[in-house]
Symmetry: C2
Subunit: 281 residues, 2 copies
Amino acid sequence: VFDSGLGGLTVVRALERELPAECLVYFGDTARLPYGNKSKVTVERLSLEALRFLSHFEIKALVVACNSASARALDVLQAEAPFPVLGVVEAGAARAAAATRNGRVGVIGTRATVRSGCYERALAARREGLRVIAEACPLFVPLVEEGWIDHEVTRAVARHYLEPLRAGGVDTCILGCTHYPLLGEVIGEVLGGGVTLIDSGESVAAEVAGVLGDRGLRARAPAPGHRYRFFVSDQPEQFAAQGARFLSHALVQEVRVVDQSAVPWYDRWAGRDAVPGEEQR
Amino acid sequence: VFDSGLGGLTVVRALERELPAECLVYFGDTARLPYGNKSKVTVERLSLEALRFLSHFEIKALVVACNSASARALDVLQAEAPFPVLGVVEAGAARAAAATRNGRVGVIGTRATVRSGCYERALAARREGLRVIAEACPLFVPLVEEGWIDHEVTRAVARHYLEPLRAGGVDTCILGCTHYPLLGEVIGEVLGGGVTLIDSGESVAAEVAGVLGDRGLRARAPAPGHRYRFFVSDQPEQFAAQGARFLSHALVQEVRVVDQSAVPWYDRWAGRDAVPGEEQR
């Protein structure tokens, strides 16, 4: 499982329920998060680095828990990886397309996810004629990280962001960011009781089970030494502590830091009037 | 000038007013921002990388515009650099210590800045017996980046964060983050008219002028080819566009990307049960 930080633990929780016998290796890029406000080239580069790191663990499949990375880098990851790479976008879109009754689907996510138009495309591929209302909610992640889950400010922000979805009469809303399930109550309250909230983490876990089953790769029982391993690029203590908010029990026993130093980009300057390797994006 | 992103442009604005004849090279680490929620080791590493990059430009002095980097990495930068390295923390503290009449100083900043206790130490070194009330305001940066400068939600968040400062009767408040001057109006409104807001950018610009003057390094007139050069690690277009919000005129003409790829950290895994170079922090 790859995520920009710890939001992917909502996906881990779903995977644990769906596939309890599987081992799991997690990489959270906490030194460089968030991905939601970064460019496509940068998200692709960071995602390929994560793929190369996780490839060392002989994984059977890679789950991209980060919506921004799923939206912007899934194709390059799939082109590079010799195993299945599953993103939360396709999985969430499939479930939403099946769930909506009136054909009006809301999508909320980071600016990068919403701008990419990935959910619109995925929904259109699953079912024709859906009306999609997508809104970026950039303040939701900082509000979750601030712990303002049940807070008047969070309700005011949610009312502001979700008004177009409410006005558009959506009956289904994709929570297009791993942090958003934690705001499920507030979001549900603002959108009204009849709206189905789609947690992409649950959707992708079901899809992983299907893919592994199809290929005869599903573990029947936990192997000896079965465990979950967590790697982060910064702040393992915070990851372990905040992990409790995401995982229902103390699953986060082993959290280690992956050092990202010895980065030579700054040394490639050769005193000339251009930075070698520099690109106009 | 080094900053984690574009907030340092408030410092550039102050430097331009104070030292109009000097050339300027700016590096904003937009691919890895924000620094405010990252660990000391990581902020040190990223800061040293920025120092090494900017050293290629034969600079006379380095201004660390980022409060989180000033708070956590100034000492390692000063130990490494053969030229003066000035941070916003010392400069802002000096001005606040001189400005307060009742000896009660408020400090607001990111969680990293506030946790470091850097302003308390700098203030105590300047003047004994000051009472300091420091509060982290993690939502202010995302609110500025969302453009909610004059917004009811921003006012509610400010009332929440600033209540301890108001209750403590501070008459001076250090804006300990480069984004905060943009919220100056709301912050002033919440704290009340009698409170002096200290913009660390202005303070550090005056200090740079002093240091260059003392060493006889001040430019008397703009040299031929005088210019401002901006380098970012991601999203130059966004930097140029948002720069207009920070700089009073179109100073941001040249914005280039510094490529940070070819990062070998992910390849140092050797198939063993530990990640070489990995550290328990």
